[in-house]
Symmetry: C2
Amino acid sequence: MTGESADFWHVMSTARTIRRFTPEPVPDNVIHRCLEAATWAPSGANAQCWRFIVLRSAQQRAVVAQAAAQALAVIEPVYRMARPPADDSSARARSYRAIYDLHDHAGEHPSVLFVQQKLPATTELVLGGSIFPAMQNFLLAARAQGLGACPTSWTSYGGEVLLRDAVGVPDDWLLAGHVMFGWPRGSHGSVRRHSVDQVVDIDHWNGDRTTSLDRASAERQSEHQQR
Amino acid sequence: MTGESADFWHVMSTARTIRRFTPEPVPDNVIHRCLEAATWAPSGANAQCWRFIVLRSAQQRAVVAQAAAQALAVIEPVYRMARPPADDSSARARSYRAIYDLHDHAGEHPSVLFVQQKLPATTELVLGGSIFPAMQNFLLAARAQGLGACPTSWTSYGGEVLLRDAVGVPDDWLLAGHVMFGWPRGSHGSVRRHSVDQVVDIDHWNGDRTTSLDRASAERQSEHQQR
């Protein structure tokens, strides 16, 4: 399969989020290896109070598509995002088109839910530390096999209720993560990230750095002042 | 370096939690590769609103040791855990000894904090999805280099205040995760986990499974009834 790699550092550094997939089905053994890799992740006290739920029937894919549409309606105003005109070839337009494609075609591909049992006297943040490593292992194992994958936030917003009902997840389990996957249209390039120097501190907090959020806040404040 | 591997599947399946480290220092370039791998992780909207803070000065290691001692005092009653007698060679005693060793020697090794900026209108669980994948990449890159590592919960309990103050982390950033690391005493074996069949469902929730938490609850209930 094109794009397959067993080189650890190559896989890690090229595990880009893929938002467009071909119609070619993903064989069970490929999905199985991703799920097995997910089970290899650490969890608090090695308790493994997790479930990985593959959504692939036409019925469940339709629910995923509905959750995607709801999420899109929520994030469009947040990111001030709209469908770009056909003649816009800017980087932002290309990125937005990929996001719209992911949401528009959500019902055509399989996906997996990462579900974590609630534990007494533990915060949701701490519980996240026991389930998102499994999601990351899944994403990396997908990349190693040449598969494309994209974590979504469709278990938030209105999608949580839809997916919880459709799958039958009990109230004492958290829908923590969700990943769409399929064979990629296009290829896996290197990830684009801030450098180590930009995000690592030694022993003490460096207050002089700015993050994407800081910059967005500053922009909003500046726009507000110009009104 | 012994235990080093660049084979993706071998690294993933042997990334066991290591709780005992040799006194040999970890070179900067080895730490750098772990941190770089952390930056390769996905985050919501690729915003990378994260900081990775290496704690290695004697002063900060002393704070980590204090956080470890506090965490130990909290978890001992939760897990009904006590220091095993010297002649106890059971699996549980060996496991407990490793946990005590980790906490007792916490001040002797470097560690890293995974810190995530709070975002408006986003839950802590969702934010966890933007920082714990980076922690998992760090753990895997440590394993690939033959390094041992152990995620801790010392940023919870009383440790959060101690570490936040010592490092100077602002209130609008979450101390999400913390990892101790060093050269392992002993070797990396295969991880021990439930099989895929035990934790994966297809399309619908299977209510017949039991988790570690279910079993612990059942045991407590049974003990309670016997009183």
